[in-house]
Subunit: 430 residues, 2 copies
């Protein structure tokens, strides 16, 4: 697996990838665009570095004329410039929904928006990163697709592989929500349930990727992780474009590995650097949300320390249950640099968050969305978030995947016999 | 409730509604655009009649410049021309997905497409009809939204009401899938579970709508049904537009009341009449799909009779379980007129259809989608459907809502300990 991403450019008149190299986030060492995720020098994580002149040539008009998916931003992504090379369900351009009733309940006076990524093809933001990763992976010559997942990623990898007609093997903790297990298994790829936590699953995948038997296999969040992570930038680009090419003053983002938060921040920075938007007068502030059952990043911020102490996750927000978050330090850095904050929510607060979002916006979020809304409320109450500034909260997944979270709280308000008399007796005719 | 739909036109420079009158499908009697669904003369169902000159003024360019939702076709719908009057989650413009692997498995040599309406905001085609109905209902002065539902409609009405901040009350059979109950209840409106079938629920709603206590209430599929049904036309318009303004030679459509099928056919006819597309050389053929547990329309076709004998529905395809289908005769007429056919699938065939669609396209459909794929297969095998012609099959809902249907069939393919040794013992390293 040593071919570079140039191999993905197969068509004619296709703009080249703006990606230049893999760059270590720790020491700055550079590597070619191959399947590698850690620095040989310092073991730091690698990320995609771009040719800034290539990025600077991108225009609003070019983007606006593109497809109604993440691929409108192909000129800002590492692979997929040629549509024929894409491995994709065409995710993205999900709704940015005004939430005035939610704002009123929370005492937010500025404009409040929900970026609803449950509208993606497999109903989570993971479709973005999987499309980015698998498109790069195919260009690099991989012939099987894999991942370690807390559920949403498994759904997305299995569905992408089915659409592309490529074998897949996905690894999940054995105790996942039934919704996420069935929704992965139905696509017919291999599904490996592991007797352990997500962190155990992730560790095993890091070992498997080194074996001969898995040499043909792209693990989206292991060996092709740098390409994968770039897909999250589209959640920043889209919000800016949907606001009429403006960056909101505040964003509230759920954190598992912490990578989503860093990439949305990176997307805003890129847009300003290449001149597509102006930064808000006082910059933007990035806020992170975790659950109380898995809060290692927020805890480090609250304690004012520079390292993250891994935890053993508990609680209902399983899609966020990464106890040893790979990008935690970078998320801390982004929040501190922008003047944001982090907080975390209990399981009861998460359930209330899900119901409050549904009742006020018509959006039914999975537990991760409940975390974000519950933390938004806490940030307003604690004064950390400015209630007069414009705020975007990210809902990254679909309530149908975590029905158990609210199954005991909601249900029919009446049960009646099928007659007018039944309706009368229940008090419906008053 | 006697105000007409003109009341919905509140803005300036807003084109008027092209709707002209309610017209009886039975005797042709005409009524003003009020909340009425049956003819006073012959008790036949009413549908919206249009000013044909107004329709003829609509252009492709006008539509293509519109919003990325059903509202791009506002000039062909009864209400919602003024965006400020819409009660909507902005559904529509869902993906039309090429399905070459499914075609190959089925022996279809013509182009095969899946219109995937699970991509709508509450993940079924019902968002289209609810947006159409509630927008009309608000214009008619109603202040509470209601429906009788087999599940998807309940989800959609409750979510629309939450977004709009309007009270809702929805009526469902008590034995619905848990996914559909929770996904309705979470929005916080009233939810009435009825000890009976959908047909019982529907009958009760027809009685409630006549009571003083429900005078302020729009039942989307009862008193404002003519407006509601028109929303389904957008599933015909979109397919034609997405094919580059062409009508496919064959369409396969699931049937509950039968209305969706008749409205897709109506949409194609309108597009030809107003000159936006040319009909295929040999016209288009409309195929209907039911489950074996509820097949009154297909059964009438197979028996060659002119009336539909109601049945007591059974089987897993609950969203299609309407035993006394309101538009069944009109669906029969459309299928006979266009030279199509109808068939029905057993529960096992439905499960196979769900899995086959997921495996070959990456689309996870609810049971109704499994019905359609299973019937597609039967139509090919029986020679009723031309395997060399272009075909579009409609998936109207999301697999996450009917997980129980496949829960016993799919699951992890391996369960292992979190170690390389565990992976080896399971045979993953071969």
């Amino acid at each position: 697996m040593t071919s570079t991403l140039d191999a993905t450019v197969t068509g004619t008149h296709v703009p080249p990838s703006p990606a230049r190299a893999l760059v270590c986030r720790g020491c700055g060492a550079e590597y070619p665009l191959i399947a590698q995720h850690a620095c040989y020098e310092c073991f730091g994580p690698l990320e995609v570095g771009y040719d800034s002149a290539a990025l600077a040539r991108v225009t609003r008009a070019q983007i606006e004329a593109g497809p109604k998916s993440i691929w409108r931003y192909a000129a800002l992504l590492p692979a997929g410039q040629d549509p024929a090379t894409r491995v994709t369900l065409d995710p993205g351009l999900t709704p940015l929904v005004a939430a005035p009733a939610l704002a009123a309940e929370l005492g937010v006076r500025g404009q409040l928006w929900v970026k609803d990524d449950s509208a993606n093809p497999t109903h989570s933001f993971k479709d973005r990163v999987v499309s980015a990763a698998l498109t790069a992976a195919r260009g690099l010559g991989f012939s099987r697709f894999a991942c370690a997942s807390t559920g949403n990623l498994a759904n997305s990898v299995a569905a992408h592989a089915a659409r592309a007609g490529v074998p897949s093997i996905v690894f999940i903790p054995g105790d996942l929500e039934p919704g996420k297990i069935i929704t992965t298994a139905v696509y017919g790829g291999d599904l490996v349930a592991i007797d352990g936590s997500y962190d155990d699953v992730n560790r095993l995948c890091s070992e498997l990727v080194e074996t001969d038997e898995f040499e043909d296999t792209a693990f989206v969040n292991v060996n092709v992780r740098p390409y994968y992570a770039e897909g999250s930038k589209t959640l920043g680009y889209e919000v800016a474009e949907q606001l009429g090419w403006r960056i909101p003053e505040q964003v509230v983002i759920p954190m598992a590995s912490g990578e989503l938060l860093t990439k949305i921040d990176k997307a805003f920075s890129e847009l300003v650097e290449i001149g597509l938007v102006e930064a808000p007068a006082n910059g933007w502030r990035v806020f992170g949300a975790q659950s109380a059952g898995c809060n290692p990043i927020a805890d480090a911020l609250h304690r004012g320390v520079e390292e993250i102490t891994p935890v053993k996750p508990t609680g209902i927000a399983k899609s966020l249950n990464i106890g040893d978050p790979a990008a935690g330090l970078y998320a801390l850095e982004a929040v501190r640099r922008t003047g944001g904050w982090m907080d975390y929510a209990s399981d009861d607060e998460i359930r209330d968050g899900i119901r409050q979002l549904a009742r006020t916006t018509g959006i039914f979020a999975e537990t991760a969305g409940g975390v974000t809304v519950a933390v938004l409320r806490k940030l307003v109450e604690s004064g950390k978030l400015d209630p007069d500034a414009e705020t975007v909260v990210y809902n990254t997944g679909e309530g149908l995947k975590t029905l158990d979270a609210v199954a005991a709280q909601v249900g029919p308000t009446y049960r009646i016999k099928p007659s007018l008399r039944g309706a009368k007796e229940a008090g419906l005719l008053r």
